[in-house]
């Protein structure tokens, strides 16, 4: 078993230019958006593995009633750091990884506008993440407050671990990193687009990242403020959340979820954008309803700022119909996207390499996350489901069934671009099937457990009829997921041991990054095709083919 702070260095080593060995100083000192993107990705995957191991320990503990593996305090630390790491040290930086690597390429630029700031974002995120995880090394243990950190439970008389302070400090650092990164993305998209690339000719991933970056710019300051308040309260005697001194614990919930719900879309919208790239390529058609897709992205982004308190339905401190209404409304633009993806496939000529398998898998699994989202958006239904395993299953269905499926699609799709090599297709497909089976087996039983009323964040549960069986099933599924990740790592190592053979455009794709070499040269492009649509590389390919045919006809 890996230790919790392990990041996988072999992959990092293998990404160095062929024959150059490990150019360590070059990586530490880099300002190249591609290298920063890859470092983001590797670090995020490292945190993913660590948080995944925590999840396995928790599932093993929960397999049967009673405490077998960990103490209650240990369990509380595990689910706190698991949630924090998955949301803020894996999913959000993984978004930054894709964005860093792809935005300059997709808009036809040489680099980000602020390359040094970009590097600073990465290092702040990495150090912040390590500070959060370092809670496992201090004597009193990691933060034990849940990833939502609700006061007063997270304030001093109640959470005494040093890990909680480290959690605050670490998240402050990663929050600043996210804000700086988002600023860089917005400015790059606005000022570095190649000639001819109007806003409505941008690839949908870049569009999604634009909206996502705006969300980051307005959501992360809220959590940063809240964390500073919590730190002041714990360390310097402030009383923001202490009701006996005139404070209000619900204020934290407002601030946290004003960040926390947009955060869900911050790690969903970019991956919706990835789906907007893969479905057209593997259907060999343009995205059905490009403009509708973009407008839906903007609407989802805007509405996601107005739904925060649907996490607070049971507090009795908010307006229930308002937040039910705004939460329901988000289903409409999300539905538009679903139909965009499906109608991209209809009438196409589909083929199913690993990225397309992940995309279709995303469609099926994310649908159930979306539907259960409508259920919990109804306040009376949420009164039953709030803080039970139903919500646990729902949020994993959205974040894993949605974002992470799409992330795997993105990784397998752009892997030839990142490394110059294709993944071994049978291994990549085995990864998909193991993951998908594991995912369904893990989270489907949790819906039923939650509907029966099993609360989340319980280290132990009573042996009520059916509970043990479903928990055993869920635990088996989680180990199936772990096995699939091992297969993925094997596939990556296998690919990196081969010579580069992918070529610039292995998928016959559409957007500008496929015009550059694989991996792209230092400042990305030696030339650019004319940009007259959202699919410049497609246009160039068609034009070249027609020129070839025309030439053949001219010279009989």
């Amino acid at each position: 078993m890996t230790t919790l702070t392990d990041t996988p260095p072999p992959v990092a080593a293998a990404h160095a230019p062929a024959g150059a060995g490990l150019d360590l100083l070059g990586w530490l000192a880099t300002t190249d958006h591609k290298r920063i993107g890859i470092m983001y990705g590797i670090a995020a995957l490292g945190f993913f593995l660590a948080a995944g191991v925590m999840a396995l320990v928790m599932r093993a503990e929960l397999a049967v009633p009673g405490l077998q593996l960990v103490t209650e305090q240990g369990y509380n630390g595990l689910f706190t750091i698991h949630g924090t790491a998955m949301m803020l040290l894996f999913a959000t930086p993984m978004v930054a990884a894709f964005a860093n690597y792809l935005i300059p390429l997709q808009v036809g630029a040489a680099d980000m506008v602020y390359p040094r700031l970009n590097a600073l974002s990465f290092w702040l995120f990495l150090f912040g993440g390590l500070v959060v995880l370092s809670g496992f090394l201090v004597a009193s243990g990691p933060a034990d407050i849940g990833w939502t950190g609700y006061p007063p439970n997270s304030t001093l008389p109640y959470s005494t671990t040093t890990g909680t302070d480290l959690w605050i400090v670490g998240l402050l650092l990663t929050g600043v990193a996210s804000i700086l990164g988002a600023l860089n993305f917005v400015v790059t998209i606005f000022t570095r687009r190649a000639p001819g690339m109007s806003m409505f000719r941008m690839p949908v991933f870049t569009w999604s990242m634009l909206v996502t970056s705006i969300l980051i710019l307005y959501a992360f300051p809220a959590i940063t403020a809240a964390l500073i308040m919590l730190l002041l309260e714990r360390r310097f005697g402030a009383e923001f959340f202490n009701p006996s001194a005139g404070g209000d614990p619900v204020l934290w919930q407002h601030l946290f979820w004003f960040f926390g719900h947009p955060e869900v879309y911050i790690i969903a919208l970019p991956f919706f954008g990835v789906m907007g790239e893969t479905f057209p390529v593997f259907s060999r058609k343009p995205l059905f309803g490009y403009r509708a897709f973009v407008l839906a992205t903007i609407f989802i982004g805007a509405y996601s700022m107005t739904v925060w308190a649907h996490h607070m339905f049971t507090t009795g401190a908010i307006n229930l119909p308002f937040f039910s209404a705004t939460s329901f409304i988000i289903a409409v633009p999300t539905g538009v996207k679903f139909f965009n993806w499906i109608f991209t496939m209809i009438g196409g000529k589909l083929w199913f390499p690993a990225p397309m398998l992940w995309s279709v898998g995303f469609l099926f699994t994310f649908l159930f996350g979306g539907i259960t989202g409508v259920l919990v958006a109804s306040a009376p239904l949420d009164f039953q489901f709030q803080d039970t395993y139903f919500v646990v299953a729902h949020l994993h269905n959205v974040l894993v069934g949605g974002s992470v499926f799409a992330m795997w699609a993105g990784i397998t799709f752009w892997f030839p671009k990142f490394t110059g090599r294709r993944l071994n297709e049978p291994l990549a497909q085995a990864h998909f099937w193991l993951w998908t089976i594991g995912f369904v087996v893990t989270f489907l039983p949790q819906y039923q457990l939650g509907a029966w009323g099993m609360p989340r964040r319980y280290a132990d549960y009573p042996a009520a009829p059916g509970w043990t069986e479903l928990n055993v099933v869920s635990t088996i599924g989680s180990f199936c997921i772990a096995a699939s990740v091992v297969v993925f790592l094997v596939a990556v190592v296998e690919a990196l041991r081969r010579p580069r053979d992918a070529g610039p455009d292995p998928w016959q794709a559409n957007s500008l990054e496929w015009w550059a070499d694989s991996p792209p040269a230092h400042h990305n492009f030696r030339s650019l095709p004319p940009i007259r649509s959202a699919r410049p590389v497609f246009d160039a390919r068609v034009a070249a083919r027609e020129a070839q045919r025309g030439g053949a006809e001219d010279r009989p």
Binding site: T31, R116, V176, T191, R192, P195, G196, F200, P529
Partner: protein, 197 residues
């Protein structure tokens, strides 16, 4: 007239921020009168005002190329078919870019109204790593004590100094190179400004 009201003469970028800002302010208003809840209203107002101010900023900085392009597009639209978007003027002639001037664009057609010259891309530097390390150590001092703050100040100071001097040198070089032709108004200020340091 409708074009003017919908700001179709303005770039997509501007309309995007104005729309988001208007949405935030409208929802803040609705939210306040439904709930009289302060925290959420302030947050929504901040969201709306923040996006809206950016939109207003872009609106006021509407580049001349956009104005000209939009006028041309309108004439085209009047003459032939209904034009779709001012910022999407496909009438602008495209060239297959090649060679040195490609990265970053900068040609400044109406398709990319806020495009800026590429400037210089920095080479490899350890300054961001040092700065990040310094900030992390310094902030962790809140947990473990002020000695960490001292430990953090060293890389922080070195990183900041290295970064800022490199940026100053690049700015000087860029201004020296571009001052005569491209930025006659801007250049003297910049030179004077950087010269003072």
């Amino acid at each position: 007239m409708i074009r003017r009201l919908l700001l179709l003469d303005h770039p997509q970028e501007t309309r995007f921020f104005l729309f988001v800002g208007a949405f935030g302010l409208a929802l803040a208003t609705v939210y306040w009168f439904l709930t009289y809840e302060v925290a959420g209203t302030v947050l929504l107002l901040g969201f709306g005002a923040g996006a809206g101010l950016l939109g207003v900023g872009l609106y006021r900085s509407r580049p001349g190329a956009v104005r000209a392009g939009a006028d041309a597009a309108r004439r085209d639209a009047d003459a032939s078919e209904a034009g779709r978007d001012g910022g999407d003027a496909s009438a602008v002639d495209q060239v297959t870019a090649g060679g040195e001037d490609v990265p970053g664009g900068g040609a400044g057609g109406v398709d990319t109204p806020f495009s800026t010259p590429l400037g210089r891309l920095p080479g490899e530097t350890l300054a961001p790593l040092a700065l990040g390390l310094g900030m992390a150590l310094g902030l962790t001092a809140v947990v473990f004590g002020p000695w960490l703050l001292v430990a953090g100040l060293v890389p922080l100071a070195w990183g900041a100094w290295t970064w800022l001097t490199a940026a100053r040198d690049e700015l000087r070089a860029a201004v020296r190179q571009e001052a005569p032709e491209t930025a006659p108004d801007l250049a003297p200020d910049l030179v004077a400004d950087t010269g003072e340091r």
